[in-house]
Symmetry: C2
Subunit: 208 residues, 2 copies
DNA sequence: GAACTAACCGTACGATCGATCGTATTGTTT
DNA sequence: AAACAATACGATCGATCGTACGGTTAGTTC
């Protein structure tokens, strides 16, 4: 049904307008939530920031939870566009893995994201609150780590690193990036350097 | 001035009562905040939970920010008692480092802490909000990583591991523990196993 | 052109928030 | 006994929250 809505959106100016408004609101919601959290998202505040009426925002999302889910989805798309897609230019395996980390660093450092990585900011907020928001954030985490693990496996197959437990190392890399994000927020300029050095330590040189 | 207050508390029944009430409230605040965050802490809610009057709680802390700071301080004390102090029984160096990690795991897994590690739950919430709360949480993080680094340096000096960058490895261990805490909240039972295996990988065997 | 739909607005609701009063009670000090 | 200090209470304030309802406008379908 959702696809039907999207499909008709091309020919229906109303749906087109609505989708555009939803996008605008959701993107701003990402900015707000990355700093103040998904719980602090308020319909009235977003409406005021964007010069809309509170009831208009309410009507577009139906409930606060749907607004939060829309923010998670918008953040996911941004992440794919800013981190995952640029790295696709690099060759699969170790080069792409390094490209992913580098674009992630740029993403976390960018002043465009006042609160840093969206997932790092919001997952700790919801990891103990069962519900669709937590599930969506957990899915993002899983997909990201699975992506890292896939490139790690490819790196091993290519002989670019010695054998390793891809899932475990992917977990470690993600842990490293999350910690670096927090360290950056706290003003630790050496965080990026730490990530790069620690990453090298996690990738054993191939023995040949 | 704060010491004077504590000093007189022994002889002043009023201050004694007040200190006891503050402790009770702060401890409950830690439980609430570990699940719902420090922002979600509300004076009225704590008062209702503990059967006190809202204005009573307000009078004891003066402001919401002071209540949050008291929660951070209470969590710090609990952390010292549950994680740091028990590990002091182990010999300095590698044994104590492992003891710290093991007691941390027990601490994070314990159902006594519904939201898991307090710092992991609250630091991402405040890392982009300058102020005394963020500073207090940053101090906790710094002290914890410094403690890990100190034991790492001792382990190197003892010849229990090969040479390493203590500060960097401490950062990695903390990152690992934080990630494991989140993974535990999401229901990943393998998280603990991942921590132990990854930790071994971070501690290079001494060459002799 | 009539019927329908979606976006959007204005208004209003009950609830909760942090904070500030005034006051009673209890304990200490002089 | 008098003055003072700290805990604790009840009541109230203005603000903000999420949600609901009715009405208007613009676009689509028949």
């Amino acid at each position: 049904m959702s696809e039907q809505r999207v499909a008709t959106a091309a020919s229906d100016g109303r749906l087109l307008r609505g989708a555009r408004s939803r996008r605008t609101i959701a993107r701003h919601a990402v900015d707000v939530a990355s700093v103040e959290g998904l719980t602090a998202l308020s319909i009235g505040r977003l409406a005021a920031d964007l010069g809309m009426s509170k009831s208009g925002v309410q009507a577009l999302f139906g409930s606060k939870e749907n607004l939060q889910l829309a923010a998670v989805e918008a953040a996911r798309e941004t992440f794919l566009a800013e981190v995952v897609r640029p790295a696709a230019a690099a060759a699969r395996g170790l080069p792409r893995l390094r490209a992913l980390v580098e674009s992630w660093i740029a993403y976390a450092e960018s002043p465009l994201y006042p609160g840093g990585c969206f997932r790092v900011a919001t997952l700790p907020e919801f990891d103990s609150r069962p519900g669709p928001v937590r599930d969506a954030l957990a899915r993002d985490t899983h997909d990201w780590q699975a992506l890292l693990a896939a490139e790690l496996r490819r790196a091993v197959a290519n002989g670019e690193t010695a054998d390793l437990d891809a899932e475990l190392v992917a977990f470690q890399i993600d842990a490293l990036l999350c910690a670096a994000n927090t360290a950056l927020r706290l003003g630790d300029e050496r965080a990026v350097d730490k990530v790069r050095r620690a990453l090298d330590g996690l990738l054993p040189v191939p023995t040949r």
